[in-house]
């Protein structure tokens, strides 16, 4: 009996030793490989652009002989995938963060890009993400969002784009369409779905507006205690969305992003809050440039005559500082090629959107062009301040409260509580 125990223990020890030895030798050999020539491993965030990345990677390898691997994380699992991938021996050399809050998790892994050729290609310093003085991330796409309008339906209802220049105008038009919706055959707004595939349009993007105007008033660009000065405006626009929509407010909890997109593409509603990334989806569904336009989301705050689309970025490239020198250099070379060569810039502007680099190719994305027109007409774009939202948890809290308010199982006070108190709580929690 005793013999058996000894034997068993011996076996366990032996096996554990093999396991560890296995890990050890692996690590050794891969380091040798990487010192021979640099390699690039990009952990891509945008599933919709996966195919384009694979192609461009192949093309780069053919041109330069440098191996480029692109792996795309499944939608909504980027943080999890990155946490798992980055500890591997063959870790991503290139990954992305979504702004200052996301950077907090990964700053230990961000290579300082200040002296890199990539940084020099940026059109403005404001597109770099700083960690102290170090350049931790480089924005690679500028996007805009607002209210996408079906102009055909709007004119059928007897209005044109020029009739909407403020929140009061929008409210008047929307409520008039609702009043005549059975006669017109369509509604004002697509469903403001609060399913996980759609709720970010409201708990994050729409919530950006009250935050932006509060920051503007105070002249700040981040805060650990939001006051909620413009929450009445937030309520007004939310009420407008849910009460002039294709479905009853109580059903919003289960409406998805696809629902809203289909309603809009099928001509069931005039207005659809979304961004420039939605252009390809809408044109694929048969909508044309003549039908479409994007207008600012007016909430009745600030100087509405000067308000533009919401334009900014939450996609920053970061180079893994833990990678070998050769890999880091190879990665920077690859990115520089992406933003300077014809093939690279063409792929980025066609598949991703506007890129903030000096040699960017021009785009045919209508919503991006709309944004340019607004800026040229002297309007100020609303900046993306939702990158300063304290946490995913905060967004979920606001989303939950908005859903409950829409369905009538919660009150607006709960939304205010989740917005204002939640903000302070979450900032305190992350400072622990």
């Amino acid at each position: 009996m005793k013999m058996k125990k000894v034997l068993a223990l011996g076996l366990v020890a032996m096996m554990t030793a093999t396991v560890f030895a296995g890990c050890g030798s692996d690590a050794g050999s891969s380091k040798d490989d990487s010192s021979a020539s640099g390699k690039v491993y990009y952990l891509n965030f945008k599933p919709e652009a996966d195919e384009a990345w694979q192609e461009i990677a192949k093309q780069y390898t053919e041109e330069t002989g440098v191996e480029v691997t692109v792996i795309t994380a499944a939608s909504g699992t980027y943080e999890e995938t990155l946490s798992a991938e980055i500890v591997k021996d063959e870790a991503p050399t290139l990954f992305q963060v979504n702004g200052p809050v996301g950077l907090a998790n990964w700053k230990d892994y961000c290579y300082d890009l200040k002296d890199s050729s990539l940084y020099n290609e940026l059109t403005s310093d404001s597109y770099a993400l700083y960690d102290g003085d170090a350049v931790a991330g480089i924005a690679y796409v500028i996007e805009s969002y607002g209210l996408i309008v079906n102009k055909d339906l709007l004119s059928q209802a007897g209005y044109s784009l020029e009739d909407i220049a403020s929140f009061d105008d929008l409210k008047k038009v929307a409520e008039d369409i609702t009043a005549r919706s059975s006669e017109l055959g369509f509604s004002a707004f697509t469903s403001a779905g609060m399913d996980g595939s759609s709720d970010w349009r409201f708990k994050t993007h729409l919530a950006n507006l009250p935050i932006y105007f509060e920051y503007q008033d105070k002249g700040i660009d981040t805060t650990d205690a939001i006051e909620g000065k413009y929450l009445d405006n937030y309520k007004a626009i939310w009420d407008l969305y849910i009460n002039n929509s294709t479905c009853a407010p109580a059903d919003l909890a289960s409406k998805t992003g696809d629902d809203a997109e289909n309603e809009f593409a099928n001509g069931e509603a005039v207005f659809y809050q979304n961004g420039s990334w939605e252009y390809a989806n809408l044109t694929d569904k048969g909508m044309t440039d003549d039908q479409l336009a994007m207008i600012p989301i007016y909430i009745g705050a600030g100087d509405e005559a000067k308000q533009g689309l919401c334009t900014g970025t939450e996609n920053y490239w970061c180079v893994n500082s833990e990678a070998s020198e050769e890999d880091i250099q190879a990665t920077i070379d690859f990115l520089t090629w992406m933003v300077t060569s014809d093939a690279g810039t063409k792929m980025l502007s066609e598949q991703i959107g506007v890129i903030p680099f000096k040699s960017a190719a021009d785009t045919n994305n209508l919503f991006v062009l709309n944004d340019r027109d607004y800026t040229d007409a002297g309007k100020t774009p609303v900046s993306w301040n939702f990158t300063t939202m304290p946490s995913e948890e905060w967004k979920n809290g606001v989303g939950s409260a908005l859903t409950a308010y829409a369905a009538g199982t919660g009150t607006w006070d709960d939304v205010v509580k989740a917005f204002v108190d939640g903000w302070a709580l979450e900032y305190a929690a992350s400072a622990q």
């Binding site: 034997l7 396991v19 999890e80 809050v101 998790n105 990964w106 995913e392 919660g410 992350s430």
Partner: protein, 283 residues
């Protein structure tokens, strides 16, 4: 043969033992160590002591999800086992097409949890919408009932198969003898069938209890913990602790919760095994 086994047993045990060590012992030990650390990735962990456990124990949401999970486990274990046993009884009664029924009841078990969660979410939301009641994501009670319906639907078939196997292994002579002695159907059920299927009851209740505690996919897909964490179960709570905030401390808190969770599940299933095992009879 006996002798050969006695001599070479280590070779037979080795593959499973190796898998167990690689797949369980090693990650578990590492997880245990990480629960005392702050970390973003497992390679850069800073040891901080018992702080994570202190936080986990004070976290009200964690305890809410614990009680929610416990209630769910009790209700689902009872319902699944009673219904599965009843169906197994019915289908061992030589009725026509019993093989077809067995296949049909077993089938839901072949569908993945996430898919089931979304399908049931659509179904239940339609029903709730027709009844003009708040949808699943708005009311924790409906969320709870939805989860119970979903889990029953998915697991009854599996448990039924185990019970059928148990019932079929009862020697015919026991039942025949009882019938000759004048026992009623009721008496046969409680005095002969149930004591003889105790091993199946042990394994089925073990599976349903642990499945109940560990439930994740279905919870994530069906309710996502809405409204405001009210229908969040333990595993989902741990996941959210990990990923819904940034900063190294949250991974540590999540890890500490995961260790507490693991110990609780082990303790509860040990007690259950002991209790039901003691009721098993030797044939």
């Amino acid at each position: 043969m006996e002798k050969a086994i006695r001599k070479y047993w280590p070779i037979f045990v080795l593959p499973t033992l190796a898998a167990f060590c690689v797949g369980f012992i090693y990650p578990f030990t590492q997880g245990l160590y990480l629960s005392f650390c702050k970390f973003t990735t497992i390679k850069k962990a800073t040891f901080i002591g018992f702080g994570n456990y202190a936080y986990a124990i004070r976290d009200a949401e964690f305890w809410h999800s614990f009680w929610f999970t416990a209630l769910f486990t009790v209700v689902s274990t009872v319902l699944i086992n009673v219904i599965a046993f009843a169906i197994a009884l019915a289908l061992t009664n030589k009725i026509k097409g019993s093989n077809l029924f067995r296949t049909v009841f077993f089938m839901p078990n072949l569908i993945g949890g996430i898919v089931l969660g979304y399908i049931w979410q659509i179904l239940l939301n339609c029903v709730l919408s027709l009844l003009e009641k708040p949808l699943l994501a708005l009311n924790a009670t409906y969320g709870f009932i939805g989860l119970i319906i979903l889990m029953c639907w998915q697991q009854i078939g599996y448990m039924m198969i185990i019970y059928i196997a148990g019932l079929q292994s009862i020697p015919e002579d026991y039942i025949e003898a009882a019938k000759i002695d004048g026992a009623t159907t009721r008496q046969i059920l409680f005095k002969i069938k149930i004591p003889n299927v105790m091993p199946s009851i042990t394994i089925c209740s073990f599976l349903t209890i642990t499945n109940g505690f560990k439930l994740f996919d279905q919870n994530l897909a069906l309710t996502g913990g809405e409204p405001a964490h009210a229908s969040e179960m333990l595993a989902l709570n741990i996941y959210n602790t990990f990923y819904s905030r940034t900063g190294p401390q949250w991974k540590g808190y999540g890890q500490a919760k995961a260790v507490i969770f693991c110990i609780m599940v082990i303790a509860i299933s040990m007690i259950q095994l002991k209790v039901t095992k003691s009721k098993e009879v030797q044939q």
